[in-house]
Every structure is written in structure tokens, then in C-alpha cells.
């Protein structure tokens, strides 16, 4: 098992270098001269241009530039935003908690609903309950979430007026940012009304972001559960005199969850995709919106650094899932 872990860890290194390379060269393909972009609209003299070129290292061979960039990345230097002149990593750090808070809430929401729903559908196979759950999850799976977000806004914000349309917190509240998580910060501040307001702001974006993972996990849980319920050891558990609840939730679910956990892990990538759309629609000040705005403004250091950080995050989560997979799956754990 430690060897397996180590091998998995080592495999991450070339992938990560590959991602650095990909973002590095991809940005070089972009039209427009980065120096002119940095210099702004007024343009520069020829000497100033050469000076800038030298200063930024653009006069060196491209592979040296890449090696330099890689070195900078490894030292935590991801460049400086052309627009705001702040380091990319700093901006990311400031905005990331907002995305994380949203993503965590969404995935909790998805898992809490999806696993019981999937189990219920499998246990009540071919009944009305099963067909309804399957149909709903298929619709959820096919949902264009940007439209879904607009529908929810139309219903809950415009027509019913229950939910706020945008942002994380009403501007009337002044909450110190301690953790960056609005729910926790409002609790620390001891402001009950602000906490409820933050929760209201979170609800719609979290529901939207949870939709696709919810559908995917439900489908996966159902099919995995159906597969497990056919196994002989389930019959053994019943023959032991165990209650149906124990049979389903202990003997069956424990095994059915093994593939489901992988699927939950793979949702990170989907969540980040969803975050870009969701944050844009709900004006949520997170990294999704930040990246998209950087694309609109052609703020390449931000795009480059942001993509790198998100990809790194996805790789890390996938690795964590692999490890978790080993822990919960005894038959894999033994293999050397």
C-alpha cells in the first residue's frame, strides 16, 4: 500500500509539469504582443520596448523562458495581474474561499440527497418511486445549468421574492473576513441575522451547482446498489437474520459506495466548470467569475495562473480520491 501510494504521488509530478507547459505555451499562442498589452494604450518607444522585453525575459529562448516560469511557479510566483497589479496567487487566495464555500455546500447537498435517493431507487426497483427518481436524475443530468439558474432566479427571486439574486451578503452587514467562509465569519461575528442572510445568498447558487453532481451520483448509486444487491453475500446477510435495514445500509451500501466515491471525486472538475457559470450568473465573488473576467479583459497572467491552480486542485482531489478508494476497498489494499 505505501508503494502504491508513492507511485500514485510520483505520477502527479509529470502531469503537473505538463499542465504548467500547456498553460505556458497556450498563452504564447494568444494574439497580441504582451509587452504592448502591459505598456497600455499609449504605446512605447523602441528603447523602452527593448528594455521591457529584456526585463520580462522575452528576449531569451522560449525553453529558457519556460524553465524560468516553471521555477517561478514552484516558488509560488504565478505572476502579477495586468489589470489590478496584484500577484495572481494573492488574488486567488482572496477569492478561493468563496468558491470553496459554495462548492462544499453544493457537494454536501448533492451527496446527502443523492445517496439515499439512489439507494431508494435500487431497493424499490421498477416501481413508481424508482422510475420517478431515474427520470428526475436524467433531467438533472441533461440540464443546462445556466438556464436552470435563471429559472430559479425567475421563480424564487423575481416572482416569489424569497431569495436574493446576487452576491454573498447584503451590503448592510459589515463582517470581518476571518476564514473567508461567510457562514463561519458571520458566526464568529455573532451576527445571527447576517448568518441567515449569508445562508439565503448561498442557497440558490448551491442548488444550481449541486444539480449535475446530484444527478450523476444518484444514477451511480442506483446502478452500483443494484449490482451489489444481486451478490451472494447479501443473501448470506439475510440468512444470518439481519434486518433489511442492516442488510441495505451496512452490507450492501458499504460495497456499493466504493465506485460512488470515485464518481464523487470526479465531480471536482464538474464543480469547477459549474462554478464558472454559477458564479457569473449570481455575481458570486469567487475564482470562476474572476477567471472569466480575466479572459474578457485578456489578463493573461491571471488566466494562466488561475488555470494552473484549478488544474492542480483537480489533480490533488483526484489523488485524494484514489487514496480513499484504497482505504475503503480492502481487496485493493492488499495488492502490492
Amino acid at each position: 500500500m505505501p508503494q502504491l501510494l508513492l507511485r500514485r504521488l510520483l505520477l502527479v509530478i509529470p502531469t503537473f509539469i505538463g499542465i504548467v507547459a500547456l498553460t505556458f505555451f497556450l498563452i504564447r499562442l494568444a494574439p497580441g504582443d504582451p509587452i504592448l498589452l502591459i505598456a497600455g494604450e499609449h504605446g512605447v518607444s523602441a528603447e523602452r520596448y527593448a528594455e521591457l522585453q529584456h526585463q520580462l525575459g522575452f528576449d531569451r529562448p522560449i525553453f529558457i523562458q519556460f524553465a524560468d516560469y516553471l521555477w517561478q511557479v514552484l516558488n509560488g510566483n504565478l505572476g502579477i495581474s495586468v489589470v489590478t497589479q496584484t500577484p495572481v496567487l494573492e488574488e486567488f487566495g482572496k477569492l478561493f474561499p468563496a468558491t470553496l464555500e459554495l462548492a462544499i455546500l453544493a457537494i454536501i447537498l448533492a451527496v446527502v440527497i443523492a445517496i439515499p435517493a439512489g439507494v431508494l431507487a435500487a431497493v424499490k426497483r421498477n416501481t413508481l418511486i424508482d422510475h420517478s427518481i431515474t427520470a428526475i436524475s436524467l433531467v438533472g443530468y441533461s440540464m443546462p445549468i445556466f438556464w436552470w439558474a435563471l429559472l430559479l432566479i425567475l421563480l424564487f427571486s423575481v416572482n416569489l421574492g424569497w431569495m436574493p439574486v446576487a452576491g454573498r451578503l447584503n451590503f448592510i452587514y459589515d463582517i470581518d473576513s476571518v476564514t473567508g467562509f461567510m457562514l463561519i465569519d458571520t458566526l464568529i461575528a455573532g451576527d445571527r441575522e447576517a448568518f441567515i442572510d449569508a445562508l439565503y445568498h448561498l442557497t440558490l447558487p448551491a442548488v444550481v451547482l449541486a444539480t449535475i453532481p446530484l444527478a450523476v451520483i444518484t444514477r451511480m448509486t442506483r446502478s452500483s446498489m443494484l449490482e451489489v444487491l444481486k451478490q451472494d453475500y447479501i443473501r448470506t446477510a439475510r440468512a444470518k437474520g439481519m434486518s433489511e435495514t442492516s442488510v441495505i445500509f451496512k452490507h450492501a451500501l458499504r460495497n456499493a459506495l466504493i465506485p460512488v466515491i470515485t464518481v464523487i471525486g470526479l465531480q471536482t472538475s464538474i464543480l469547477m466548470t459549474g462554478a464558472i457559470l454559477t458564479e457569473t450568473i449570481f455575481s458570486w465573488p469567487g475564482i470562476g467569475k474572476w477567471l472569466l473576467e480575466a479572459v474578457y479583459r485578456r489578463d493573461y497572467p491571471v488566466v494562466q495562473g488561475g488555470v494552473l491552480l484549478i488544474a492542480g486542485l483537480v489533480i490533488l482531489v483526484n489523488m485524494a480520491v484514489d487514496v480513499l478508494y484504497l482505504v475503503i476497498n480492502p481487496s485493493l489494499r492488499q495488492q502490492k
Partner: protein, 337 residues
């Protein structure tokens, strides 16, 4: 024949399977008795309804299977009349079962020790340390020498024979009065098969429990059973004591089974006999005797009406489902070498 004072008395048990193409009968009017300390073998080809019978006794028939009629009297109480919650008290404690594929019959996510302890905790309300102590004893009892290591192992780390021992340990953990063994040795190597049989025989004798031993291999029967039931196409066709089975089978199917056994085939150089034809498929409706299509003694009456399982001769305890049972004389017997 319902005998109230025997351990298990199954009366006219029928199970149907309901599919989209309509329902078909898996077992029909199965009656059987098991006395305390007695081993009854159920023999038949695959698909003859042996396993369905055992699952029906346990109340473990799941959809699309439905128990259509019958009673399963266990110590004088009809298990099928109980709610599933009431029945569960007996399952795993008084009536236990072991299965054909031991490795996939154990949950891959839990250690075998945990799976044995689970029964002890459920039925005997033992504490954790007690469970552990008792589980180790049980593993020792079924002949596992390194019981501690076995206790901590997952099923995939053990061999099939070991896993079957674990299953047996689990089955005897609450001193059951009835053990149902559904082809317990089929998936095992021949040497392991013999050891497992010996273990089952010894445990049965020591604990005085009743046992139903299900197999498709008639040659295993004399080693373990006191009485044998032969099943064909969902029906019991013969019910007789082991002593007389090999000397004079009454049903043509039993005779054909015996003739196809290498051990009971005495003429050198002659081909082993096989039973011509195939058993009826699931869902096929048969009029008359279920075996008539393959029976070399079949007459017109066999095609038209179905025989009942009755005593062959007025004083004979043997039961047979045949209009023309083979006489208990040497002329038609397969003969014991």
C-alpha cells in the same frame, strides 16, 4: 405425512416465478420432514428446484419469486405465517445456511472475524470481547489452526475451503437445530471437498442438529445423509432411506441417476449411461408426469395424468411419484458393487 413432532415439516410448498411472460412454477407441492439429528439429502440436476426449496424454507425467496402455498413448520410453528421480523429471530440462530460459493458469499468489505461476531452480537447479544473470544473458538472448532490470523483476514485473502469453514463457523455459532447446506462442496477442490464433508458430518453428530444437504452429486450422499429426496423439475420424485436407495430405486429417474454414476457402474468397458433428453425448461408446461419425456418406461397414462407422491407399497416407508414404480427386486436395480 405432516409430522408434528419432527424438527422441520415442510408441507406442500410451492414457489412461482413471475416474469413478464407469465408465471411459472419453480417448485410444486414439496413436502419433506427433517428430524433432529437427521441429515436429509436433496438430490437433483441444476434447475430442479433444490436451491429454491432451501431458500423458501428460510423465507428468503425474493421477487420475482413468490411462495404460492405451503407451510414450513419448524418446531411446530409455521415460519411462513410469521412476519419477516419475527422470522428473522430464527434465521442465523436456529436455522442457518451455507452456500455453494463461499468466497462470494462473504462480504468483501468486512473481515471474516467481524462477520462471525455480527451473528453473535445480533442473536446472543454478546459484547465485543465476548464475540471475539467466541468467534476464535468457533474458527478453531471448524479446524482453522491459525484462528487469530483468519479472524483478521478479509475473504479474498483466504482460500475457498477456508472461506467455507468460516461460513460453517458462522452457521454453527448459535448452536442451530437445523443447518441447510446448499451444494457446500461443489465449488471446492476434491480433497477440500472431502475435508469439508467430514467436518459437516462431525459437527452434525456432535451438535445433534438436523441437516438438509443439497447436492447434484449423488455419490456424495451415502457419506453424509440418512435419507434422500430426489427432485426432478420442481417436484420430489422419490423419498427413501439411504440404505435402500442403492439397492432398489423406485423411480425411473433415480435409477437413471444411479446408472450414470461411475462408482456404481460395474461392467468394464461399457459406456456410462446418460439420461437422454433435457429437463423441461423454466416456464414450460408439462402435462402428466414431468419425467415422461425422458423415461424409458413411460406409458400412455404417464403422458396424460400426473402421479402423486405416495407410498410405493402398503408397508413401505418409501415414497415415490410414479404410476409404475420399479419393483424393489434385483431385476431393475442398478446394484451396489
Amino acid at each position: 405425512m405432516a409430522n408434528r413432532d419432527c424438527l422441520l415439516a415442510v408441507e406442500c410448498l410451492s414457489v412461482d416465478f413471475e416474469t413478464r411472460r407469465g408465471s411459472h412454477t419453480a417448485i410444486e407441492s414439496v413436502c419433506l420432514d427433517v428430524h433432529a439429528g437427521e441429515t436429509v439429502a436433496i438430490v437433483g440436476e441444476s434447475g430442479s428446484g433444490k436451491s429454491v426449496t432451501s431458500l423458501a424454507i428460510m423465507g428468503l425467496i425474493r421477487k420475482p419469486g413468490v411462495i404460492r402455498s405451503g407451510k414450513v413448520n419448524f418446531n411446530g410453528m409455521d415460519l411462513l405465517a410469521l412476519s419477516s421480523c419475527q422470522r428473522r429471530q430464527y434465521l442465523g440462530r436456529d436455522i442457518t445456511m451455507i452456500f455453494q460459493e463461499p468466497t462470494v458469499s462473504l462480504n468483501p468489505s468486512f473481515t471474516v472475524g467481524y462477520q462471525i461476531s455480527e451473528v453473535l452480537k445480533l442473536h446472543l447479544k454478546m459484547k465485543r470481547t465476548e464475540c471475539r473470544k467466541r468467534a476464535l473458538e468457533l474458527l478453531h472448532e471448524v479446524g482453522i489452526s491459525d484462528s487469530l490470523r483468519c479472524f483478521k483476514s478479509y475473504p479474498h485473502q483466504l482460500s475457498g475451503g477456508m472461506n467455507q469453514r468460516v461460513m460453517i463457523a458462522m452457521a454453527i455459532s448459535c448452536k442451530p437445530s437445523l443447518l441447510i447446506a446448499d451444494e457446500p462442496t461443489t465449488a471446492l477442490d476434491v480433497t477440500v471437498q472431502a475435508q469439508t464433508l467430514a467436518l459437516l458430518r462431525q459437527l452434525q453428530k456432535n451438535n445433534g442438529m438436523g441437516m438438509i444437504f443439497i447436492t447434484h452429486d449423488l455419490s456424495l450422499v451415502p457419506d453424509i445423509a440418512h435419507r434422500v429426496l430426489v427432485m426432478y423439475a420442481g417436484q420430489i420424485v422419490e423419498n427413501c432411506s439411504i440404505d435402500v436407495l442403492f439397492t432398489g430405486p423406485l423411480h425411473p429417474y433415480t435409477e437413471a441417476l444411479l446408472k450414470s454414476l461411475p462408482a456404481h457402474h460395474d461392467k468394464q468397458g461399457e459406456r456410462l449411461s446418460t439420461i437422454t433428453g433435457t429437463p423441461p425448461r423454466a416456464g414450460e408446461t408439462i402435462t402428466g408426469c414431468h419425467f415422461h419425456g425422458r423415461c424409458s418406461y413411460a406409458r400412455e397414462r404417464c403422458k396424460e395424468s400426473a402421479p402423486k407422491l405416495i407410498a410405493a407399497l402398503p408397508d413401505d416407508p418409501r415414497l415415490v411419484r410414479c404410476f409404475y414404480p420399479l419393483a424393489a427386486n434385483s431385476k431393475t436395480s442398478a446394484g451396489r458393487p
